[in-house]
Symmetry: C2
Subunit: 312 residues, 2 copies
């Protein structure tokens, strides 16, 4: 266990570093570290837990936007002085990366519902696998499916722009989409397929980059000026630093490009995540069962990386 | 391109290293680097290609054993002075990691057919995902499915033992099985579920270990004295050394435990692999299209790792 039983003050920068020289992008924690659903109690547990672990933000999944009460969520966030982001991945039944126009329409409706919920919560970032179902496709994408995804996302980006919301497209590994597996592909999709709307960015996740990219640095550089959201996850989705994911290399590269957007911790254990989502994400092993311990450790790890990469 | 147009002599050890001190486990190449099917012409292309790239062995897939003519294969191997291994993964329709006794029986029959083919070819290693379908399961395995897999494999191990054939169980990432994702799990499965037959080993694949393990060293050590077969693949399944997979760490660990079994290069590109298998393996990107170049580079890379880890 990382912490017993008192908490170390993970948020306080060490005195030797001048505060002005600190690299301080907002640090976030995925709600699924704490809670698999979003009743008022669960929401409070997650928001309080993330806050107490030292985080500035919480990423609230909107896989089913109707299950998230935006008013209640907004109040809890205000009460605990926390900011939020929202994320989702589509399902095969409501997928805009499809040739089936009804399926695309269901995906479109879900994305616009999620956008409305995000706006009502007061969220500034809508991220995740917005362009595709989250799962193993049985074949490659087609030009028509790709065009459908781009068309719907252009429309979503327009609507988001009016609300001051940034979209970030999370590329994921080959088993979780057939469309965008690398930073380079994602940047090209935004520029060429979507017509480069100003509020659409790449969402880089270390877990997926670890599988699909040559290196973290190459991935960061391939985003150009359109890296907008970062997920930090270990190779096996457990405690940070325990596995082989090149997190030090990622933080160094982020600092080198002066990245100052959200950096959010993500980890899944079937101890917390619902059976359905565990099965979608192929979480067959429990790598942890103490949410508070995991989150505090993650915050300390990320904060340490910020300090190591601060300028003197 | 790695080679233009003459071949570098990748097999010759440098003169400064005493031959007796060299670490020389047999190096193999997966047939799918060269050929997606196994007609006589395709088989010859693959066997000759692997030989010319410098390899000692070729790994011939037996996903459908009836599509491999063992007599023709044996003759070609003899003609080119090459050794072989055989590998397969089951399908969901013939899966011994299942509660459905008919499905288990179909899997059992396929495994015994593969064993017969391997024997007829003169192969000593039958490896791969012998215990499970190769693909994304919709839920975790069950004790009954696990017991079925263990029971069939005990039977297969008995039969293999009579033929002088070693079985090696390849643990793979969470998206390709729900049963064995780590070296520790696989070693435990062999010892506890299968009753520790002497001819059953762990098959470690760097591509999968990169995702699921804390480190290559921890993975190798978790096999104890039962590491029997190794796959070398890059994180994105392309050229070795280009990605972030800790191959240097893996070779160092293999040397430290005095591993002398086969080390086989594996890489998939939809340029060669059939559409069906590309879709099963989620190969959406072409990372190479020149088999000879890829294989020669891989052999040189692996040979260099053997030299770097040889004792002086």
């Amino acid at each position: 266990m990382w912490l017993t039983p008192g908490r170390i003050p993970t948020t306080a920068p060490p005195r030797v570093v001048k505060v002005g020289a600190l690299w301080q992008p907002p640090l976030g924690c995925h709600a699924l570290v704490f809670s698999g659903s979003w009743s008022r109690d669960d929401a409070e547990t997650a928001i309080k837990g993330a806050k107490e672990a030292g985080f500035d933000m919480i990423e609230i999944p909107l896989l089913d936007p109707r299950k998230v009460d935006p008013t209640m969520t907004k109040h809890l966030l205000e009460e605990h002085h926390m900011r939020s982001s929202n994320s989702l991945g589509l399902s095969f039944n409501a997928d805009i990366n499809s040739e089936d126009s009804e399926c695309v329409e269901r995906g479109r409706r879900l994305l616009f519902e999620a956008l409305s919920t995000a706006e009502a919560i007061g969220t500034r970032y809508l991220c995740g696998v917005l362009y595709s179902a989250l799962g193993k496709y049985s074949g490659p994408s087609s030009p028509r499916a790709r065009a459908n995804a781009a068309r719907v996302l252009r429309e979503l980006a327009d609507a988001a722009s009016d609300k001051g919301i940034t979209l970030a497209l999370e590329y994921v590994n080959r088993y979780e989409t057939n469309l965008l597996n690398t930073a380079r592909d994602t940047r090209a999709f935004i520029a060429e397929d979507m017509g480069d709307p100003k509020n659409v960015f790449v969402h880089l996740d270390s877990y997926h980059a670890h599988i699909e990219e040559n290196s973290m640095r190459e991935a960061v550089l391939a985003c150009g000026d359109r890296l907008g959201y970062v997920h930090i996850g270990e190779c096996h989705r457990g405690y940070l630093g325990q596995g082989s994911c090149d997190l030090p290399g990622l933080f160094r590269a982020l600092r080198d490009v002066d990245y100052n957007g959200p950096i959010t911790f993500e980890s899944f254990s079937s101890a917390v995540v619902s059976d359905d989502l565990s099965n979608t994400l192929a979480v067959w092993r429990n790598l942890w069962d103490d949410s508070d311990d995991l989150a505090s450790h993650a915050h300390a790890y990320m904060q340490a990386q910020l300090i190591l990469n601060s300028k003197h």
